[in-house]
């Protein structure tokens, strides 16, 4: 049996062991691993997560017992101190000597600390190991208590920004000093770096570029930095993130060839200048470069292992190493891929910049316009995975390459689909998983979800950057196979909403607990509770009061929660018609409780900033003044917007306001899969924007045109003509039927527009149901609507008048104190919540 000695148990060293453990010829070898750190390999990429919970276990890549089980001899806390390549043996720190047949260096790198005077002072740290982070955390605690709490990071690169954001999250004032004129000088161009700077400054980081640190000042511990331009920056601690230096000291001392600026020289099989000695990961100098990323390191582990095993898979390192990166954790998206920075004579660049939104996108296109060479994305990196794939696989690009970052204008989507990628396209570069391999698992049924794929291939388990693309792949694949992804509610109810509703009604189930016992499993969650609440409401006109604890957040307290945890109050103002007396009453109440008031987009008045315990008091007064709940918080009928119509308007064909009030009063309180909105316009000028609503009526010669399934919001859609011209009575009839059909069949949180979009046969089918009674259910639909309308009660009235329902509006159980953490600031003479940090 031949012995392999691996020096270093970091990320790449561990990958080597993992591949080793699975190799068919492994029995022919013995693997001994020496690690300098006191614990087995851990995930350095997500090191910053340690700040949140100090949980080293969560970062762990494998345990000592995993190594034991694999028959790999791992010795942690045992650095190798010298190597003798002539006699093929290594010496450990404890003086033990052990021989090898093959030696692999995976010694990684150490942070580079420039030789600045004062760098030995207390409070100066680097950012590489768990121990480094423990030191930073402990020191930060002291600094926060005893000093001003300022931290500075030296280096505005990938890691520096990540470290700076971490200090900010620790509650420190956070500064970044960068030697170059811009942030991330190696990955970004000037404009991209400027947008990034504005964004991170918006997050609270203080950025100082063009700063050459000449001295680290302080007596014993750091107090300030002195720059060569004579300026100073006060700081209580410093984290140096100025680049890395490969750990080649052992190899160098053993006479193995190293680069002029460090790094163990290797060829395309990761062989060093000494026989049977390899180097992988950040310690290896391949093509005169050190690659400070895990993906190339993992590739090196693969290549070196198969070179040692001389297996049939033995292949060389590729000529071009992909250094594309997506930055994580800093509160904004930043990515660069391929040739990010190019000159005019090698590529044509297309740039999109939006300073207000903090977005900068640049793509570089080959001069012949055929290939994407690379690019930069700041502020919005949603397209990163796809662009990166197009570049890496040399795929053809659209005739208007700008569509790649702007999206096609004119409807058709330009975005290539994941399914268009070649089979060799590497989707997960950390684990080197190709699209072909993933589709193989989907084809043979061994995987049906992203989770399954991760299980079979480990795809997505590294940096996680490919997860969105995995999701797209699974969705696109399923669709292409004609497999419908069944939209089940959650792990507790394996049914669609329609199936569940049918079961509930059929079995006459009345409470959530009964539902769980009879047709569910387990104990429920935040997805199925509101879904069932909606089914009870739409089937039995149950208000949000009797089963308050299963309601979605807003329904539970019959008010919309605001960003500081206070609530808004929106009384119903049917059709937008309000009398001066009602305005005065509302104004008086808003003034009394110091509420911020605003006219909403739905033609009513919203009063913001009520504390939980004030809600019933406010509503008591509103009810006394004749108001009712506006259900602004519920997936329920919101408003029926109207224009003034023939009441006053010289063009009006009918009294739009009266009809809107009638409609709103008929359907008020009606709960539905998503919110419902209506509109009535007095003529085709459409001032009420009725066609932007779930149902819209427009007065025309001879009656009304009834439009249904429109939507405003993010994906606007005009409502489609269901019938017209018809009279008001017929309009109600059709609406009753259509709404009940919607209540019964739509999935949770699906607006009518999306419901119709997914309906086979579309509007023609809907017409056949609602007008021609194709299902023969219209009589049932009408009866159901009539009974729901008859069961209407104002749920706020119910809540304030019933002591056990009212008792839920209480901030603290054990005291009547107000929540003293709420902070408001002045805004044009009204109040608003203090901004989020």
């Amino acid at each position: 049996m031949e012995r392999i000695i691996l020096v270093g148990n970091g990320m790449v060293g561990h990958k080597f062991c993992e591949l080793f453990s699975k190799h068919p010829q492994r029995a022919a070898f013995e693997l001994v691993v020496f690690g300098e750190e006191c614990r087995p390999a851990y995930d350095r990429v997500h090191l910053s997560a340690f700040f949140a919970d100090r949980d080293a276990e969560r970062l762990s890549l494998a345990t000592q017992s995993w190594y034991d089980e694999q028959g790999i001899n791992l010795k942690c806390g045992t650095p190798i101190t010298s190597v003798d390549v002539n006699n093929k043996r290594v010496v450990t720190a404890s003086g033990e000597t052990i021989g090898y047949d093959y030696l692999v260096f995976a010694t990684g790198s150490s942070p580079f600390v420039p030789p600045i005077p004062g760098r030995e002072k207390a409070g100066v740290f680097v950012y590489r190991t768990i121990e480094d982070l423990e030191g930073i955390l402990d020191y930060a605690e002291v600094v926060k208590k005893t000093k001003s709490g300022k931290a500075t990071v030296m280096g505005g690169g990938l890691l520096g920004l990540e470290a700076a954001k971490a200090t900010l999250d620790m509650g420190l004032e956070s500064h970044v000093v960068e030697f170059a004129a811009r942030l991330m000088p190696r990955q970004l161009d000037d404009r991209g770096a400027t947008v990034l700077k504005d964004t991170v400054e918006g997050l609270g980081l203080h950025i100082h570029t063009n700063k050459n640190t000449a001295n680290i000042g302080g007596n014993g511990s750091i107090t300030h930095l002195e720059f060569s331009d004579g300026q100073q920056l006060e700081t209580d601690m410093l984290i140096v993130s100025a680049g890395i230096r490969p750990r080649d000291e052992l190899a160098r001392a053993a006479g193995i060839k190293v680069g002029d600026r460090g790094g163990i020289c290797v060829d395309e099989y990761l062989r060093t200048s000494a026989p049977n000695v390899f180097a992988i990961g950040e310690a290896a100098l391949y093509q005169s470069m050190i690659y400070g990323l895990v993906a190339p390191g993992y590739e090196m582990a693969r290549v070196a292992l198969s070179a040692i095993f001389a297996d049939h898979e033995a292949q060389a390192m590729p000529d071009v190493i992909d250094m594309s990166t997506k930055l994580k954790l800093i509160g904004t998206d930043v990515a660069s891929f391929g040739q990010a920075i190019t000159n005019e004579d090698e590529a044509r660049s297309i740039v999109f910049q939006d300073d207000v939104a903090g977005i900068y996108k640049r793509i570089n296109i080959s001069l012949d316009g055929k290939r994407l060479l690379g690019g930069i994305l700041v502020g919005d990196a949603a397209d990163y995975n796809m662009l990166h794939q197009i570049q890496r696989n040399g795929m053809s690009i659209p005739p208007q390459p700008e569509d790649l970052i702007l999206g096609a204008r004119g409807g058709e989507s330009s975005g290539a689909s994941v399914l268009d990628l070649p089979d060799e396209a590497v989707i997960c570069s950390c684990e080197n998983v190709t699209k072909g391999a993933l589709c193989g698992h989907l084809d043979d049924g061994s995987a049906q979800s992203v989770k399954d794929l991760a299980g079979c291939t480990k795809a997505g388990s590294g940096c996680g950057g490919c997860k969105p693309m995995l999701t797209d792949l699974v969705d696109a694949y399923m669709k292409s196979q004609g497999k419908v992804v069944r939209n089940v509610i959650c792990e507790h109810f394996p049914y669609t909403r329609q199936e569940l509703r049918d079961l509930i009604v059929m079995k006459n189930i009345r409470t959530y607990d009964e539902a769980l016992d009879e047709v569910g499993t387990g104990h429920g969650c935040e997805s199925c509770k509101p879904a069932l609440a909606s089914i009870f409401a739409t089937s039995y006109m149950e208000t949000a009061n009797p089963q308050a604890v299963i309601q979605d957040t807003n329904d539970r307290f019959l008010a919309n929660i605001q960003r500081n945890g206070t609530y808004s109050v929106v009384p119903r103002v049917a059709g937008g018609e309000i009398s001066p007396k009602q305005l005065v009453d509302m104004g008086r109440i808003a003034e009394k409780y110091d509420l911020y008031t605003k006219i909403t987009g739905g033609q009513r008045i919203d009063m913001f900033g009520a504390r939980l315990e004030e809600l019933p008091l406010i509503w008591e007064e509103l009810i006394a003044a004749g108001f009712e709940s506006g259900h602004a918080y519920g997936k329920a009928l919101r408003t029926v917007k109207s224009c003034v119509g023939s009441t006053w308007c010289r063009y009006g064909m009918d009294e739009a306001v009266s009809f809107a009030i009638e409609l709103e009063n008929r359907y008020k309180g009606l709960r539905s899969p998503h919110k419902l909105k209506g509109g009535v316009s007095g003529c085709i000028r459409e001032c009420a924007e009725a066609r932007g609503k779930d149902f819209g009526l427009i007065a025309v010669e001879g009656g009304y045109n009834l439009y249904v399934c429109g939507n405003g919001g993010a994906r606007p859609k005009h409502a489609e003509l269901l019938a017209g011209p018809i009279d008001r009575k017929t309009a109600f009839l059709y609406l009753d039927r259509m709404l009940i059909f919607y209540l019964r069949t739509a999935p949770p949180l699906t607006r009518t527009a999306a419901w119709l979009d997914n309906m086979e046969g579309g509007i023609d089918y809907l017409k056949s149901v609602v007008i021609d009674d194709a299902l023969g259910l219209n009589a049932e639909f009408e009866a159901e609507m009539n009974s729901l309308v008859a069961a209407y009660r104002c749920e706020w009235k119910e809540a304030v008048e019933t002591p056990h329902l009212r008792s839920r509006f209480q901030t603290f159980i054990n005291t009547d104190e107000e929540d003293s953490t709420l902070e408001f600031v002045d805004l044009r003479g009204q109040k608003m919540p203090k901004a989020w940090a």
């Binding site: 997560a49 700040f51 949140a52 919970d53 605690e141 999250d169 620790m170 509650g171 954790l329 792990e491 507790h492 607990d513 769980l516 387990g522 104990h523 429920g524 969650c525 935040e526 997805s527 199925c528 509770k529 509101p530 308050a548 604890v549 299963i550 979605d552 957040t553 539970r556 307290f557 929660i561 960003r563 500081n564 945890g565 939980l612 839920r808 209480q810 901030t811 603290f812 159980i813 054990n814 005291t815 104190e817 929540d819 953490t821 989020w836 940090a837």
Partner: protein
């Protein structure tokens, strides 16, 4: 995502030095949470009737540092009891405090004891 202030630290049952009497069991909602005040801390207390289990965690959501968790929906994910923040639906395990659907820092959790119709929350100070 932000780090919670230092007064919120998970208390292990064996570390409890003070069982604070939070209120009568019937003052708390069944199948949901309510909030209590303990010094300058706000603690959310939850009752899971189906399992007959009580849990407590900081009321402060680490996502935007708002005192709202006690008003969130509760439930279970593969057996782990959890609360969903009412503001952006981040979910937290009520046994470990861990954020189950994102990368927020964990919340501090506290032991709860019920005796003679009263609810007690365990603190180490």
């Amino acid at each position: 995502m932000t780090t919670s202030p230092p007064q919120y630290q998970t208390v292990q049952p064996e570390a409890v030095t003070n069982w604070y009497k939070a209120g009568r069991t019937d003052q708390f909602p069944v199948g949901a949470g309510a909030t209590i005040k303990y010094g300058d801390r706000q603690i959310a207390v939850f009752y899971f009737p189906r399992q007959d289990k009580w849990y407590a965690c900081q009321n402060l959501c680490p996502h935007k540092l708002e005192n709202v968790l006690g008003r969130g929906l509760i439930g279970e994910q593969e057996g782990i009891p959890k609360v969903a923040c009412p503001l952006h639906k981040k979910t937290f395990s009520l046994t470990t405090g861990e954020n189950l659907n994102g990368d927020c820092p964990p919340v501090a959790v506290y032991p709860v004891d019920v005796k003679d119709g009263y609810v007690y929350v365990g603190f180490a100070d």
